[in-house]
Symmetry: C2
DNA sequence: CAAAGCATGTAATCGGTTACATGATTGT
DNA sequence: ACAATCATGTAACCGATTACATGCTTTG
């Protein structure tokens, strides 16, 4: 699945500009599907060429015109078809775990930093996911699907945080001993 | 961090051929850093050109010669420097969570399949990570770092599996109701 | 006064995946 | 017989990141 497809997904939920889609990616998908302007704008352009979305330019003062995109029937169908065909992959690319795997080649002080930095990162992620719950009470109750995703993320980040917290001291001590010997 | 760098890391642990490095990636890094032949072989070639590894061709019968790579002092230094400079990122790209997020656009039967498929995937991963413990008793005790990585993965996969198991019925039921209404 | 937010885009580059190309041996 | 394992590589392609380019408004 590429950025163009998920962009279609966002537009299924309502019209939006490229900038707004980027924000959606940040506060809803960030923890499982990141994307920057450099992939969103070209994706929107291509989707428009293919008739999957339409675009209305809204004049703005002191800014470039806002381009509001709306999904078409063809776009909706394309997104549904893509969803039906994608298998539930789940890939992780973790420099953090590489660093731990080769901890013996890291200065012990740096190792401790690495562990705390990642722990803070996970804590921030968890806060954000839980915040999602609180942020949108106006839209009525969270749908079951959204609750599932948020609950999943909370559980997984929680497990990661707890594990790091419970074992970091032990690891750092062992590496310190190893490097002084 | 790219494949070339992690390849250097593997060679820090002992000499190996491209094929053997690929196996290492599969049974040690798979859950946090995947790589295929198409990135490993060119990485090795480039590392050799840069003097980070040396290569000895070992004649084989009925197969292409085996090319055994060994890391050089420069290679070791380059790897250590790279490690010291990399920040502990941790990125997830999950088609699975996208599928759940848009569960309302999926046939309920497919949703149930998706949940079970991913659960099985995580269970397999967890088994593999735990197996790591059992597979290499000859190399003496697992180092603290290796234990940390295995323990982390076990905890996180466990949390994911438990969460899916506890909430999949609820989700599927809710989506079924939504689509019949 | 500086930083963050609003708003759009392009081009170069980079890294990785996939498919192709070859072929013997061993296990089911 | 067929699949898997051993063993190496290349080339085309694809998608994403990064840097560049511009510039006003709001908030701290």
């Amino acid at each position: 699945m590429d950025v163009k497809t998920l962009t279609l997904g966002v537009l299924c939920l309502g019209e939006a500009s490229g900038y707004e889609i980027k924000k959606r990616f940040e506060d809803a998908f960030q923890h499982f599907f990141a994307a920057g302007f450099g992939s969103i704008y070209p994706a929107l352009k291509k989707a428009e060429e293919e008739g999957l979305v339409t675009c209305t330019e809204v004049p703005q003062e002191g800014r470039p015109d806002k381009k509001v995109y709306r999904i078409t029937a063809a776009g909706r169908a394309a997104f549904a078809a893509e969803l039906a065909a994608t298998s539930p992959e789940h890939k992780v690319r973790s420099e953090f775990l590489v660093l731990i795997y080769f901890a013996h080649l890291l200065p012990p002080a740096r190792l401790a930093e690495v562990l705390e930095e990642r722990q803070r990162g996970f804590e921030e992620m968890r806060r954000m996911v839980e915040g999602c719950d609180v942020e949108c009470p106006e839209a009525g109750e969270l749908t079951p699907a959204l609750r599932f995703v948020a609950g999943y993320a909370t559980a997984v980040f929680g497990a990661a945080i707890d594990y790091i917290d419970a074992h970091k001291g032990e690891l750092v001590d062992a590496i310190k001993e190893g490097s002084s010997r």
